[in-house]
């Protein structure tokens, strides 16, 4: 096993670090206060090549692969987790269309996702009654003379206020559960696509999350992504890749909070000399190192074309939970100062908490993992 990033992957990581330092970091605190979609950051991300890291050059991407993507996301998240989620979802939308789209769909949409023409792309999967169980979705598309008419309500849609393109999952047959679901490509400005008001959230305020209504939205036959009624596996593929992204993002937030605590301790000898402080930092270093390796393992398997569903779930559940814990340990090192906005650690604490929820909760990861584990026990071969 050798997950040492290649020189090309390191180059992307460094480009991400530069963009994070020069663009994201100076704006992060204000963005957290003011909220809303991070327009300026996204525009700069297009220039920095952060909108299509694992997308072919021919379609405007960097073609740097999943490991580079993971490394870049971790760098971005250390500066601004909110912008990171908007960028990460855009990257995954571009990847999904690259993987499942026909050549017309690819040339129509992917370059617009990687050069920022669309602002960002977004996924619309969850619904008020279908979160952990996307098979319970109710939104539908019915055939019409000119293609399809989409009707339904989605929830928790990242960047829905400003996304130029959505990948939308809806029912296209009466088959139960995961069967009978199809994916469509729908422009953000299509008539009848109506985002709700941005949710007020605990953190990640610099990314918008809203409900998204599809009111009799008419699309042509070219909007159907891949085969009819076979969209659920596209969602699962998007989630697998997304989980590497969330794990990488959580890792970045945990690292950033820990670094604040480390610096604070070094500046205060009575803290630096305390085992309670030292051990908190030692534990954070241990768990975040492990998280880094798990995230890299999943990204490396994806790069090598190996199955990585299991590894992505492990990485996502572990990294998000350990990053949350590391952020808490950082607050404890800061003491009452940690409760104030005098340091960014309190933002990191609020930002990291959702990584245990979106892209499949920790509970869902364990369901996915347990299913595989039990199957393995049942099949001695």
């Amino acid at each position: 096993m050798d997950w040492t990033p290649t020189a090309g992957e390191r180059e992307v990581e460094q480009a991400a670090a530069r963009y994070a330092r020069e663009v994201l970091a100076p704006a992060a605190e204000r963005l957290d206060r003011v909220g809303g979609f991070p327009h300026a950051n996204v525009a700069a991300a297009a220039k920095a090549g952060m909108l299509g890291i694992n997308v072919p050059r021919a379609l405007g991407g960097r073609e740097a692969g999943p490991v580079a993507y993971s490394l870049a996301i971790t760098e971005l998240a250390q500066a601004c987790a909110a912008t990171t989620v908007a960028l990460a979802v855009n990257n995954m939308v571009a990847e999904v269309i690259t993987t499942f789209g026909n050549s017309d769909q690819k040339t129509e949409h992917v370059p617009r996702l990687t050069d920022g023409t669309y602002g960002v792309g977004s996924f619309a999967l969850s619904e008020p009654g279908a979160g952990s169980d996307p098979g319970g979705m109710r939104a539908r598309a019915r055939r019409s003379d000119r293609g399809w008419v989409i009707e339904g309500s989605k929830l928790w849609i990242t960047s829905a206020t400003d996304a130029g393109l959505f990948v939308v999952w809806v029912r296209t047959s009466d088959a139960p559960g995961a069967r009978g679901i199809s994916a469509f490509l729908v422009r953000g400005d299509a008539p009848g696509v109506v985002p709700g008001k941005p949710e007020h959230k605990m953190g990640q305020n610099g990314s918008t999350t809203t409900a998204l209504d599809f009111n009799e939205v008419e699309v042509g036959p070219e909007a159907l992504l891949d085969e009819c009624n076979r969209g659920f596996r596209i969602a699962m593929m998007a989630l697998d890749g997304g989980r590497i992204g969330v794990g990488s993002q959580a890792l970045g937030i945990g690292l950033a909070a820990t670094e604040i605590a480390r610096r604070h301790a070094i500046e205060h000898p009575e803290l630096a000399g305390s085992e309670a402080v030292q051990w908190r930092l030692a534990d954070a270093a241990t768990t975040l190192d492990a998280a880094r390796l798990l995230v890299l393992q999943a990204a490396w398997r994806k790069r090598e074309g190996l199955a990585f569903t299991r590894e992505a779930s492990i990485a996502k559940a572990f990294a998000s939970e350990k990053a949350f814990a590391a952020t808490q340990r950082a607050l404890e090192v800061l003491g009452e100062l940690g409760n104030t906005r005098r340091t960014a650690a309190e933002r990191h604490f609020r930002d990291v908490r959702v990584t245990m929820i979106y892209e499949g909760t920790s509970e869902v990861q364990r369901i996915v993992l347990a299913r595989g584990i039990m199957r393995r026990f049942g099949d001695p071969a």
Binding site: W156, K201, E332, I357, E363
Partner: protein
Amino acid sequence: MEFELGEDDRLLVDSVAELGRQHIEPHAAAWDEARALPRELSALLREHGLLALRVPAERGGTGLDALASAAVIETLARADASVALTVAAHNLLGAAVSDAEHLVGWGSATQVQMRREGEDVVIDAMCQHALLPTTAGTIVVAGEGLAFAVPRESSGVIADRDETLGMRAADLGPLRLHTVRLPATAELRPFDADAAVAAMLVGLGAIAVGLSSSALLRARDYALQRQQFGQPIATFQAIQWKLADLATGLDAARLMVRKAAATGDPIAAARAAIKAADVAIRGCSEALQIHGGFGYTREYPLERWLRDARFCGLFANHLTTGRTAIAHAIAARFC
């Protein structure tokens, strides 16, 4: 040990619960958002005897003992932790420093210097994290064996308000006394600093217990109602165990807080506050998790409760310099 409240105290706690349901809980989210409690709230608290919890009835106070007082704080915390913290801080010194008209704040000073000039004392002090520094009429500043009741309007009192992670509606921030001249009577003598810290820790523990109890009820109700995979999520064992663990921790924490209140033992208070805060942080986080994406939004109180619980943990650890005081007490007893 008997931790049950008497009939009168129980009625009072019930009336505080009603006050909380009617007049506090419905506004808690808005106060958190505004990062302030409304001025009118003081009058409401005063009306219900909450600004004189420990002042004897014959002096016009509510006349509660420490156990009943902790129960009142816990009950207030179920409605809003910032209000409970404000009331706990105000009543910290009981009858020793009480003010029926204005709030009484608190500041642990890291450096204190005092010199006497004739009938006056002149004080320099720095409190990094004071309670009610910008809204109290009087702030008790204590440190290095000294304690003073400082009118906030005194010349040389420099108070600021922090933007905070938890307890956003409460008034928290740094307080500096820069050559503040006060009459010698402002010095509190004798002053039992351990008792003051113990009272604060019991208050923090009670607040954490209130948060845990709110989180448990809310998460249970949601788990029973929310359907995924064709069944209420409360039917999943993983969710059941989260609730069972929270309920177990809640019982333990509440008993510890009551024991600390009843005995007044500073070490019992440290143990109770730390345990109660740990249970609340974990419990509020799990309750948030059970709510999924809804828990992360501010339409629901879970994220606020988690932030408030986080404050309890940070503040409790500081007051006792972490678990050090407990460890020293253990060593003294058993080594």
